[in-house]
Every structure is written in C-alpha cells, then in structure tokens.
C-alpha cells in the first residue's frame, strides 16, 4: 500500500491498534544515543500517560535497548499492516501460543492480543480503558481478563484493524481467555481454530496434544491457503533456537547479585518471545539485552546502593505504569528477577526433519508458560515446584503474587502455593491484589506502599537478622 493511504487510515484512528501504529511510527524515528536534554524535550510534548511510559523506557540505564525494543515492536506492527494489505493472513493468537507456529507460514503473521493490549496500555493516552469499557458495554462481565479484553474490545468496535483468523489455545487452562476469544470469533464472524492442551503431562497426554496440534496445523494450512514448506520451517526454527540460547544467557545473568539485568527486561523478554520468536528481530533483541546486562555485570552497575530484595514474581507483574513499577523498584534495590512469563524457558527444537520440527513445536505449545503449570492436572503442583526451583537457582529472598483479579485459577490455589513456597524455601510471599492492565482497581501508589512495607518490614529485617547471626 502507498504511504499516503496508510496515513489516511490512521488519520482520526480510534482503534487501539491504529493508535499504537501512529505512535510507534514516530517513536521508531528516535535515534540511539539521545541525550537527557533531548529526552526531556520529547517527554514534554507527549500526552501525560505516554510521557510517563516513555520516561520509564528512556531511562538512561537502558535507553538504547528500550529504543531497540520499541523498534522491534514497531516493525511488527508495521509488518502486520503490510501483511493485511498484501492479502497475507493476520492470525490473532493469545500469549500462550508460540508465534513461530505462525511464522512457519510464508503468508501469515501473528498478532498477539495480550502484547497489543500491553502496548496500548503503556503508550496511549487514557491507556486501554475505552476499549475495556466498550466490551463492558456489550455486557462482557467486569471480571474478565483485561489483558485480552482490551485489544479484543477494540476489535469488537469494528473500527480497528481486524485479524483474519483466531487461534485459541487456552481451553482448560484459562476460561476467561478462551471465552473472550470465542466471543470475538462469533461476534465478528472471524474463523477460529482451537488447540486444546490436555491437563495430563504424561506421554499419553502429550500424544493426544500432538494429535490436536497436527490437526491445528492442517486447519491453518487450509485457512492460510499454503502448504508448509520444510525449508522455511527450518529457517524459522533455527532462528528461534538462536534466540533461545540468548534467553538462557540472560537467565544466567540474573543469578548475579546485584542483578545486572534491569527489571524492565522481564517484560522485554516476553514481549519478544510472544511476538517475534523465529524472526531475526527477536534474536537481535535478545542479543542487545544480553550485551547490556553483561556490560553492567562487568561494571558492577546497579541503580541502588544495595540490592535489598531479590524478588521472584510468582505470576505476572503490573503493566499500566512502567515507571512506578519496574523502575521504582529497581531504584530502591528491589530486583524483579523473573515472573512466570519471563520464565518461559523456550525449548530447543530439533530441526532435522519436518516431523521433528512439528513435534518440537507441539512440545513448545505444551510447555508454554502458564499452560504447563496452571494447565496441568494439578494447577499448583508444577507451579510450586518450578517456583521453588527458580527461587533457589536465582537466590531470591522474597516472592510476590500480583493477584490479577481475572485469574481465577491462580486465585483459587494461591493460598496453598504461598504456604508451600514458604515451607519449602523459607521465602516470604506477599499477595497483592489488582488488575495488571487497568489502573482503576489498585493504583500504583497502593502497590508501592504494600511492596515497600513488605520489603522493609519482612525482607530487609530478615536479611539484617541473618547478617547479625
């Protein structure tokens, strides 16, 4: 499509995607090496919500890597637009579906609903609230998950960028996610393909899942109108493997104290994993994060005098205020080590043959974060075991559960998870309550107060007591 018509589409844009598209187009022009004065000047002309997020992202400690991240996501948004215009299929996927499964098709591109929501919430003035409100106006209950409902709410307006196919992979792992995707499919007449993940993590459950996955691939081949090409698949998966290697390097860097990996890199990690895995842009992004963290490690750089808390976020974080969350903690010596999403633990896929690659992709779906833990026979068992292992491995001295209100599955078992983690690792656990993508429920100031009280009164005190002993 010509530049002009693209601009016409975005003029007066109302949808979340289109508004994000307009913003990233400008943000992508920002050069590396911007001075603090230039950043301050820029922040002054931006609307308040956008300015606050940009202030967090353009923090001098990791400014250039943030710009790379913005450019990577901006490139993704632009490619989605181009794909649509070229008649390639835009496949809406939830966060718990590996995007490389879509990239193995030449004529398709993944649009990850939760990432688009997060982008909107972080960069748009008014965040994503108007799209949430639109969904509520249709009658969608207010306890649904804002992570998907904000982007899907925008699609439901009928005035935003529309996907061609919906992949749904949460039946049995998350009712809220599955049902809203189904609703959008019915309401907007967008065909839906379902991948069920059996709860049973035995060879029997995995075999069933493999058969479901192969059926999904066949459906995608029909809907996209393209037969899988082995060479293309191999290219995508080799690229994904390279990104995975870098993922584990970054993971290992988090073991150092003080942690050289900036807090915000957790969201950069899964922002990359959930959108561009299998593409060179993802590999490059991971490389940039590793390089900067390595350099910070060598320099012993850390933004606070002391690393007071090494905090494992048992579930997810909060995404409506990067500045008041990631940066605020970091500057107080509270390290955000990882959360369930950044602990995505990507698998190395065997690229020997078509069969081995498909088997590897099926396995990647099965082992996706949240799916593998909360989607198990027992929702708590592997969640507890994995978190205990990560707490030990990363030497965390505290854990926090964000308590995103829509996650009824985790809310239903968090009490036993909390008890077991404390019992097995001796780590204190703080349970917060709020909506991770909407500031209306629990404002940043309240979250900060609770985190501060926990760190000052429990974590720091224990640390002092241990040091004296």
């Amino acid at each position: 499509m010509a530049e002009g018509s693209s601009a016409t589409t975005r003029k007066g844009a109302e949808g979340l995607f289109e508004r994000v598209e307009s913003l990233v187009e400008v943000a992508m022009l920002l050069p590396h090496g911007m001075s603090d004065e230039e950043v301050e000047g820029l922040l002054r002309v931006l609307p308040p919500d956008t300015s606050r997020s940009m202030r967090a992202l353009l923090c001098p400690r990791f400014r250039d890597v943030s710009l790379d991240f913005i450019k990577m996501l901006g490139g993704w948004v632009q490619e989605l637009r181009r794909a649509k215009e070229e008649g390639r299929k835009v496949v809406l996927i939830p966060f718990n579906f590996p995007p490389e499964v879509v990239y193995i098709f030449r004529n398709a591109i993944p649009l990850t609903s939760e990432v688009m929501t997060t982008l909107g919430v972080s960069v748009l003035e008014g965040q994503g609230e108007r799209y949430w409100d639109h969904a509520m106006g249709l009658g969608i209950p207010d306890y649904l998950c804002s992570s998907s409902t904000i982007e899907l709410g925008s699609i439901l307006t009928g005035r935003d960028f529309q996907p061609d196919i919906i992949v749904q992979s949460a039946p049995g792992a998350c009712d809220a996610n599955s049902k809203i995707h189904e609703f959008v499919s019915l309401h907007m007449g967008i065909p839906q393909v379902i991948l069920e993940k059996p709860t049973e993590a035995t060879s029997r459950g995995r075999e069933l899942h493999r058969r479901y996955f192969l059926a999904l691939i066949r459906r995608l081949e029909e809907m996209i109108g393209e037969e899988l090409d082995e060479e293309r698949m191999r290219g995508v998966l080799e690229e994904a493997n390279r990104a995975s290697d870098l993922y584990y390097e970054l993971y290992d860097l988090r073991k150092f104290s003080p942690c050289p990996v900036p807090n915000i890199f957790s969201i950069f990690t899964y922002g990359t994993r959930f959108t561009r895995w299998g593409r060179p842009q993802a590999t490059e992004m991971m490389r940039r994060m590793v390089e900067l963290s390595r350099r910070r490690r060598e320099e012993g750089a850390y933004p606070a005098d002391e690393e007071v808390a090494r905090c494992m976020w048992l579930y997810i974080g909060y995404y409506f205020d990067f500045l008041g969350f990631f940066n605020w903690m970091e500057e107080r010596g509270i390290t955000y080590l990882n959360d369930i999403l950044s602990l995505c633990q990507p698998l190395h896929v065997d690229t020997t043959s078509r069969e081995s690659m498909l088997a590897g992709l099926a396995e990647a779906c099965f082992e996706y974060p949240m799916t593998r833990q909360i989607g198990g026979d027992s929702m708590s068992l592997s969640w507890i075991e994995e978190m205990c292992q990560f707490i030990r491995d990363l030497d965390a001295n505290c854990a926090i559960y964000s308590g995103h209100h829509a996650c009824k599955q985790t809310w239903s078992i968090i009490n036993q998870v909390r008890r077991e983690i404390t019992k097995r690792t001796g780590t204190p656990v703080l349970c917060l309550q709020g909506d991770s993508w909407i500031r209306r429920m629990t404002p940043t100031s309240v979250l900060q107060e609770e985190i501060s009280s926990f760190v000052d009164n429990v974590v720091a005190r224990r640390k002092r007591t241990r040091a004296r002993a």
């Binding site: 306890y143 069920e196 929702m379």
Partner: protein, 370 residues
Amino acid sequence: MEDPAELAGDILNTHLEEWRRGGGRIVGYTCVATPREIMDAAGILPYRIRALGKPERELADAHLSRFNCGFCRACLQLGLEGTYDFLDGLVENNGCDHLRGMFEDWVYAKRPGFFHYLRVPHIVSEVSLEFFAEELELFREALGRHFQVEITDASLKEAMERNNRTRESLRELFSLREGERPALTGRQALAVILLESSLPPAAFEEYLARFLEKSRGNEVKGYRARLLLAGSATDELELVGEIENVGGLVVCDALCYGTRAFWNLPRLAGDPIHALAEAYLKHLLCPRMFDDYHTRLDYILRAAERAKAEGAVLVYNKFCDLHGVENVRLRMDLEEAGIPVLVLEKEYGSGADLGRIRTRIQAFLERIGG
C-alpha cells in the same frame, strides 16, 4: 407424599443414611460430564455435590478467594466443615477453573480416601472421543481397584438401562411443566433433579414414579409469565422460588442442575464405555465446550419454543467466566429470535442479593407484559 423441595433441602437425607447403614458407598462429583452409570454399576451411589445456597464461606475462603465463584466456595465450605464427610470419595473433572481450584483445595485439606481426576476434553472430535473413552476405562479401573469391586460390561449395561429409564421418566415429568397447563413449578422441577443425584437409584425411581403420577392432571395457576431459566450452576431452590413468588413460572430450563443433565442424552446401548463416552461428550451442553455454541443455542431455542416461554432469564454466578461471556452472545441471539432476555448476575447464595433479584424479575415481568 413428601414435597420434593423439602426432601431435597438437606444435603444428607434419611435414604442416604439408610444406604450407608446398609454398607453402601457414596462418591461425590459435581459436573454433569461425569457418567454416573460407572459408579452405579459398581454399586456406589453417585452423589452430585451441591451447596443449596449456603451463604457461609469462612473456611473455604482460607483456600479459595473472593474472586472465585460462590457456588464452589460454598461447596468447599461444606466439604471443609465436614458436612460431606459421609462421602467415600471424590471425582474431580476439569469442568471450569473454579471447580478445579475447589477440588484441589478440598483434596489438599482433607485427603479423601478415594480421589479420581476424570479428564474431559473441551472439543468433540474423533481423537478426543477416543481419549475420553480411555478416560472412562481408567475411571472404571480406579473405582474397581479402590472399592474392590468388578465393574463388568454386564453391570454397566444394567446401570445404563436403569439410568435410561430414569431419564425417560424425568423427560416425561419435565414435559408436564412445558405444556399449556404446567403441572409443576420450576422450584419443584429443580428439587426433583437435586433428588435424582442424592438418593439411591431405587429410592429415586420409586419417588419419581409417585411424583409423576401425582403431577399428571395437576395445574399450576396464578402466574404472570412463562419463563425459561438458563445459566451457570444453580441449585438454589430459594432463587427459583423468588422468581416464582413474584409471578414468573419457570416452565423450562437449560441449567446443569436441570435439563442439561439428562434431556439430550440418547438411549445408551452398545459397547458400554464407548456409548458413555459418546453420549456424555457429544451432548455436553456446557459453555466449557468449544466450537459448539450453536448446539447450545439451538437447545435453548427449542426448549423455549416447546414450552412457549415468554422470556428468558440467563443467570450466572459472579466470577463465572464461562456463563458470564456465553450469556452475552445468548442474549443477543435470543432477542434476535424474539425472546426477551434478562441477564442476571448473582452472588451465589446471598440473601442480601435476593431483594435486588426480586426487583429485576418484577421489572422484567413488566417489560414482557406479564
């Protein structure tokens, strides 16, 4: 004869006590995707766990949270306070996120003697049916092993035959409320269903036969409008009573503690495990199933048409994702089909909610001219 609502109003009834005194075993389950026939064939009484609108949650809330469905919290409360200690075991399945949490917490806190997880696929396909049949086979083995009883194909067929008979009688009874002159109230119908899953099979068959006989020729009078009631786990006799107290007569339903538990199930014959797998999975009219919305919509439309319902009340417990979202689409489609709809979110078992519900039902009746 005893009113079904009175008999169903207790978790533990005299028939169950008698069953236990005679050495009978009882296993609890909650979801309609659980083939009762397998337990029945083992001589075990399949008891469908319910909470009957219990408002207390203190013990349950130390495990579940206020973001979980009140029905599950109330069931867990009963489990933790010992009301369900008469059960010899529990069967969980992956019905919904709340139910899974409830069972997980129950098992964590109480460690029941027998516990089995029955995995139910969310889509119907050749592959999923094959898997579900295997699941039922595993369930049969687990029950047999734990309770030291052989569940033969012959005993399964016998249990299927008995359940077929019961379902036919239930269909006949429920048809009586759909007719021009409804013979029973919605509250009575709900009570009968609750009894079906809380009485020994023989006792229920006998009770049902007598109640059916009594109902023939009966006529409920004095109502303002004929309603369809659909939605999430609703075992609250009081709620249906409130709807009917203000003049709405529930003449048909699409509830899982209602017709969804039996209406569409075919007569079961042939290889028992495969017949059960097919019948239960293919006819599972629950929004936890995917790629199947239009089957559920058709079911409701046909029920409304048969019973000449003048309006539909779609209820759901607060925090129920499955029905909360499904009801949005159902409302749109039912209204397009000319059926006025009231979507009613409720806090399960809350007496404080009843006043609000009453007002909304009254307003709805006004709206539809009842």
